[in-house]
Symmetry: C7
Subunit: 80 residues, 7 copies
């Protein structure tokens, strides 16, 4: 991986402070403002909501999502 | 990960001594006072309760939750 | 692995900027333009769509797919 | 992890020789005297019993429980 | 592992350019010409077909199969 | 782990040559004489039997059990 | 692991060229002549057959079985 700027995790760095949507393996989603993350994709979100089958079911001031449960992350910004 | 203060696990450090809620993959929750944790997210809670489907079902003086079973951690503090 | 150019991940490097299809274990597919990837096969796609049972069900400006969920990657180019 | 005394596994060290309860992922429990453990949470218990649905079903002089199956560990001591 | 030539992955090296059949855990098979592989058994096949229940269901110019999903690999050559 | 003699795997060393019972995740058991093991808990047993639902179903001169499938190991000796 | 000759994988070395039976987690078996293996228990067998519910269902000149799917290995030799 010669070019360190081209790896996916570096793109996450650009959206710190923005809202992202984390989808877990069992189709639950968490939308919140990305505060921090690490190389395992553990994410700290604040102002977060939990979405199941398209419905907002819970609200959280601050949550940690453990990276190994994550299926994908949607970024709201279109130009990255 | 140039800025060591921006990783999620460091935020956990700020809530040691506070009550957190750990959600496991099978939707069981443990609420307790965070005593310590490590890089695997293994957590030691005291004054803990187990919550299944919103009901408190058990009480524990001290428990260890193995990190690899953790789905997410809710922090009660809103400003972190 | 004496010849570093012969490993599969190097072929992915050749298709950066091209559309690929990522198939997950549960038969969901994501088609998008490969922006970056890393050694875990974490992939950043943009202009992406989600395909379930052959139907396009969602559209994403930018997504990250966590590598450990990936079953296979189809490359649109035939000569690699 | 600057303070080595604050990690969960060190708390286990304090209860060597005491009875603990190990809960596995499939809700089986083992209660026994903790003889030793390692960093994977592999535990050696003696004078152990197996508990399924609250019933004691088996008795073991000495057992090893492989750490990766462990969901949580309950400590009988309240002040740790 | 004193004799480096006796490990299974070295045998794969001998069949580069030949057709192999990769069987996944869920009994899907991919037959294609082995282009490259790595130590995780990630494989790059070209001129590949997907076989489910003995039927050819898809055709791919180039695919990557992630190694951790592989159950076994059948080699067409009999003398290796 | 300051005291190397206190880890669980060292206790296994004391029962080499003795009969142990290995329980797998799916409740199958193997009873045999422990010949050797390694740090993954891979075990080589000889004069082994397979026990399903309390019934002896098979007999093996020599078997290897892969450590990652092991739930627990029962030691027949009571004083360790 | 002071005595390198006492680990299970070394016993496999003694049966290279002999027929072994590999049992997978889903109860499928492969019987074949062990050609080589590595530390992950990846095995290369030749003159192999696949056995499901006690019936021979397939025949393979050469197969690789990925180690992480292996439950146990039966050795035909009784004195090891």
């Amino acid at each position: 991986m010669s070019n360190v700027h081209s790896i996916p995790i570096n793109t996450l760095r650009k959206v710190i402070g923005q809202y992202i949507v984390i989808r877990l393996k069992d189709n639950v989603k968490y939308k919140g403002k990305l505060q921090s993350f690490d190389q395992y994709m553990n994410c700290h979100l604040n102002d977060a909501i939990e979405i199941i089958d398209g419905e907002e079911v819970s609200k959280y001031g601050n949550i940690f999502v453990r990276g190994n449960n994550i299926l994908l992350v949607q970024l709201s910004a279109d130009d990255l």
